[in-house]
């Protein structure tokens, strides 16, 4: 009998299990299948910092949330419609997030004495009525997987590990996903162990067939493709997009890219990805520490490469002195900070936007530099190119503030036409620029205030630079008070006068009194909340900052146009403080520091309160 199909606009699924259960992989594959159907997507992986917390415990739960939609999926979704819980810990850790009536698919084999008591269940929640408000689908995932693989000859252990593929097969059936790419993926992943590839494929098919034959699932669902601009797409995480953006910056600048990095969560994936792209002339160096990583990048920039260093907050703190040197040397340098919850080690796998103060002000002396922040995972590609453009054009360090949310989240990315990416080519100094054939390393371009980039090896331009204050023009050591004042002001002016695009305001209603101004990764939930408010008849304007320093030239005018400006941030109001100081506008700071992104619902409520008060 054909199972009836119901059409939905959007679905939010969360796969949850033990850290070793392969939930990230399961989520990735479901995402990939879904993307190929043309749904819009947003994802949110969530995993513990511990590689293997004790099995079956609450701290060991790893999850992957996916929102797929027939319209814009701006966020990974507030409350899952479906939870796949591989064990009691996964159920316990995630239940509170579900909307009432959500579907819960559980592996009943795991809901036994020890596994239940380990997470504090006195009674089996599948039997004690505590899940009555939900649509529970008990599936003996382990038993069914072992049964399906009984004849394949793989060990019981390997067979049990394939139960995530059984679950994926079942979900793929329920939501009618195309699975050819998953089967190809499994063949590739287990290329050296064909018996495991076959076992995982069998488990996947068994899960699919289980959906078809069991009477537990009476409905299949379809989510129509989202209207998206025509073109080639791929699903991409923020970290991968940053890495590809840096490769592209190398291609478009015709410079070798040099990445100095020290492993740190959640930035390491950029190092991993870039280390695969040596054929583009990309060099990656895993340095002995954060300081060496930025030092080597600066050394490479000095030699004429595009020097890049990638890290997270604690690493930026360590790099501070070298970044200040780069400010003094006026050399290009891209510093990528994938922010995580701090201070100190904080919560390394959780998100936060609390490094803005450090990026803007966290150096000794007057040490201004450019700061930009990508809005979404796919936007990381363009943001990396923009960071490189500013660094190369204005000979300055640029801090790019990503965060764990955009870094590990993913969305469909419309592949750009490479030949239309910004032209980042630079001209190195080749000839003396001063009187009598002298070379003046600090004689500036009147337009950009950038100094010449004269790389070692250029005849006739040998010169010395360093951290000591330099005389204007000659670059010689100078303790002259007036010169220092001039140099400090010139360095500030050089950054302040970098032209950045005006901030755009989305304001469909002529009588709007409230503006929401976000920055960085809050773009998705802020946009979703504003749209929801407008659907409910509220007037609200939205603007989003990508450039944090310098700020767009029109920002003051934009702020002045509204009675109230709300600034949502995942910190204690760092941008709000800058805006108040700079524009004397009493912005309303709405903040959250829970290690997780804003939900659309909570922002909707917060903005609605401001609209009501305005």
């Amino acid at each position: 009998m054909q199972t009836p199909v119901r059409r939905l606009d959007r679905v939010v699924i969360r796969f949850a299990g033990d850290s070793g259960d392969g939930m990230q992989l399961t989520g990735d594959r479901f995402t990939s299948e879904t993307a190929q159907l043309g749904n819009d997507i947003a994802t949110l992986p969530n995993f513990p910092a511990e590689i293997r917390a004790p099995a079956g415990t609450l701290p060991g739960v790893s999850s992957f949330q996916l929102h797929f939609s027939a319209v814009d999926a701006l966020t990974p979704g507030d409350a899952p419609d479906v939870l796949v819980a591989m064990n009691p810990a996964a159920l316990r850790a995630n239940l509170a997030d579900l909307r009432r009536g959500a579907a819960i698919i559980v592996d009943t084999d795991e809901f036994t004495g020890r596994q239940l008591t380990k997470v504090g269940y006195r009674a089996n929640p599948l039997e004690d009525g505590s899940l009555d408000g939900y649509e529970v689908h008990p599936v003996a995932l382990t038993t069914l997987t072992l049964g399906a693989l009984a004849e394949t000859g793989v060990s019981k252990r390997d067979a049990a590990r394939a139960r995530n593929m059984f679950a994926l097969g079942l979900l793929s059936w329920i939501y009618a996903r195309p699975f050819a790419s998953t089967l190809r993926f499994l063949e590739r992943k287990f290329a050296t162990r064909p018996e495991l590839a076959a076992a995982n494929v069998t488990a996947f098919r068994a899960g699919w067939n289980y959906g078809e034959t069991t009477e537990d699932f009476t409905v299949r669902y379809e989510v129509a493709p989202a209207p998206m601009p025509p073109g080639r797409y791929r699903n991409i995480t923020g970290n991968a997009a940053l890495a590809l953006g840096l490769v592209a910056a190398g291609v478009r600048s015709e410079l070798p890219v040099f990445l100095g990095a020290y492993p740190i969560t959640p930035a390491s994936d950029i190092l991993h990805e870039l280390s695969k792209h040596k054929r583009f002339g990309v060099t990656t160096m895993q340095a002995e520490d954060e300081i060496a990583a930025v030092g080597a990048a600066l050394g490479a920039s000095y030699g004429g490469a595009l020097g890049v260093t990638t890290t997270s907050g604690p690493g930026v703190a360590l790099k501070g002195e070298t970044i200040s040197l780069a400010v003094a040397l006026e050399l290009p340098l891209v510093v990528i900070d994938v922010q995580r919850a701090g201070p100190s080690t904080g919560m390394p796998t959780k998100t936060e936007q609390a490094d803005l103060d450090m990026a803007l002000f966290g150096r000794h002396g007057e040490a201004p530099l450019a700061v930009i922040a990508p809005a979404t995972p796919a936007d990381c590609f363009a943001a990396a190119i923009e960071a490189a453009r500013i660094a190369l054009t204005y000979r300055t360090p640029v801090i790019l503030l990503s965060d764990n949310y955009v870094a590990n989240g993913s969305e469909p990315w419309l592949l750009p036409d490479v030949s239309r990416l910004p032209d980042l080519r630079v001209s190195f100094a080749r000839e003396p620029n001063g009187p009598d054939g002298r070379f003046l390393p600090y004689l500036r371009d009147p337009q950009t205030l950038a100094r010449p980039w004269a790389v070692p090896g250029t005849p006739g331009l040998a010169h010395r630079i360093g951290g000591l204050e330099k005389a204007d023009g000659t670059g010689d050591i100078s303790y002259d008070p007036a010169n220092h004042d001039l140099m400090v002001r010139t360095r500030a002016a050089r950054i302040a006068s970098i032209p950045v695009p005006d901030v755009e305001v989305e304001d469909p209603d002529p009588d709007t009194r409230v503006l929401v101004l976000g920055w960085g990764s809050t773009y998705g939930p802020v946009t979703a909340a504003c749209r929801a408010l407008r659907r409910r008849g509220h007037a609200v304007a939205q603007a989003h900052l990508r450039h944090l320093n310098p700020l767009p030239a029109n920002l003051g005018d934009v702020l002045a146009r509204y009675d109230r400006v709300v600034v949502p941030e995942m910190n204690l109001g760092q941008l709000a403080r800058v805006l108040r100081a700079r524009y004397l506008v009493d912005v309303v700071s709405h903040t959250k520091v829970e290690g997780s992104p804003f939900t659309t619902g909570e922002l909707e409520n917060a903005f609605e309160r401001v609209i009501g008060d305005a």
Partner: protein, 344 residues
């Protein structure tokens, strides 16, 4: 690779227009003169030579040389130089540092540059004191040394810099003296000829805060009895008429100094800088401690092993398509990889 051209440069060509501002009588002047006198020998155009320094008196060095130069930050010169070295094989890159810069704040970068064997020449001026900050004890100051920050004596056991470098398996390790220009230049020559990291410790007198620190090695009346001049392939003998020698002590691990008269000629150690096992050079480095009683100078070790920067560049070269690759095409293909799909 490095341009090699017939050049007729002189020491004068390597003098920058900056006024040299070390204290009168500082050992750094002698080192600067020796380096300026030596650089023409390299046969490398001035623009292909780069000096990178950290912070400290010695680290002003780059300002006084008419080459490319960077006066960077405290302790980090080896890291910055590594990035330059990896990306620019056509440059001769020298690091100038001091005992505080290299061994205290920059200890980590030093050992990692050495173990990677980056093609850098590291000149460490060791005066056993902090000069620029006016007289605190350094990581090479003697135990018990009285300084501004240790009024009742230093409680720190000093580093033996060469032992440290050898512990990091430095492929080239040497020691020389500021005042002995000929010896200093011979060591620079050997360091420049070495492919890989060259670590050169230069005993340098700070006449303001630690004057006479190396007097036993400089005083013509006594120095021959303290200074062990290493010559590759030669037996290690020193003192007036070679009255002392270096030998393997029976039942011991390292090397020992004995009166030559008491040692059968066949048991005198013949210096071999090419011994692969760093244990030999390490044993040599242990002959001198803070007291300078028996101090070898010269090249302790010079062995071939792969350079980090060469290996890294080879990996990039190996991955790079031969022939005219079209970067735009390659990038388009890279972006359009993995699970992609088309809309409309």
């Amino acid at each position: 690779m490095m341009p090699e051209v017939a050049l007729s440069l002189t020491a004068r060509d390597f003098r920058s227009d900056q006024e040299v501002r070390w204290c009168p009588g500082c050992g750094d002047y002698a080192i600067l003169a020796a380096v300026q006198g030596f650089l023409p020998e390299l046969g490398i155009p001035r623009e292909n030579i780069v000096f990178i320094s950290g912070i400290g008196c010695s680290s002003r060095f780059p300002y006084y040389l008419d080459t490319y130069g960077m006066h960077s930050i405290h302790g980090r010169a080896p890291a910055i130089a590594t990035g330059l070295c990896v990306s620019r094989p056509d440059l001769s890159v020298w690091v100038v540092t001091g005992d505080g810069d290299a061994l205290s704040i920059g200890g980590n970068h030093l050992i990692h540059a050495l173990r990677r064997n980056v093609n850098l020449k590291i000149l460490m001026f060791n005066n056993r004191i902090y000069g620029l900050t006016k007289g605190q004890y350094s990581p090479t100051s003697e135990l018990g040394k009285t300084t501004k920050s240790t009024p009742v004596g230093s409680p720190d056991t000093p580093f033996n810099p060469l032992s440290l470098a050898l512990g990091a398996e430095a492929s080239f390790v040497a020691r020389t003296l500021d005042a002995d220009r000929q010896h200093l230049q011979s060591v620079l020559r050997a360091a420049a000829a070495h492919r890989g990291s060259a670590f050169v410790e230069i005993y340098q007198n700070c006449n303001i805060f630690n004057d006479g620190a190396f007097a036993p090695l400089k005083d013509p009346d006594v120095r021959d009895d303290h200074l062990i001049r290493l010559t590759h392939g030669g037996p290690i003998r020193f003192g007036t008429d070679g009255r002392f020698c270096v030998t393997h002590p029976p039942g011991g691990f390292g090397l020992a100094v004995r009166p030559t008269a008491q040692v059968p000629p066949g048991e005198i150690v013949v210096h071999d800088e090419s011994v692969t096992d760093p244990a030999y050079a390490f044993a040599l480095s242990r002959l001198s401690g803070s007291d300078l009683r028996t101090t070898p100078v010269g090249v302790f070790r010079a062995v071939d092993r792969p350079c980090y920067d060469d290996t890294v560049r080879a990996q990039v070269a190996h991955a790079t398509p031969t022939g005219p690759g079209d970067p735009t095409r390659m990038l388009t293909d890279l972006l359009d990889s993995g699970d992609t799909w088309t809309i409309g």
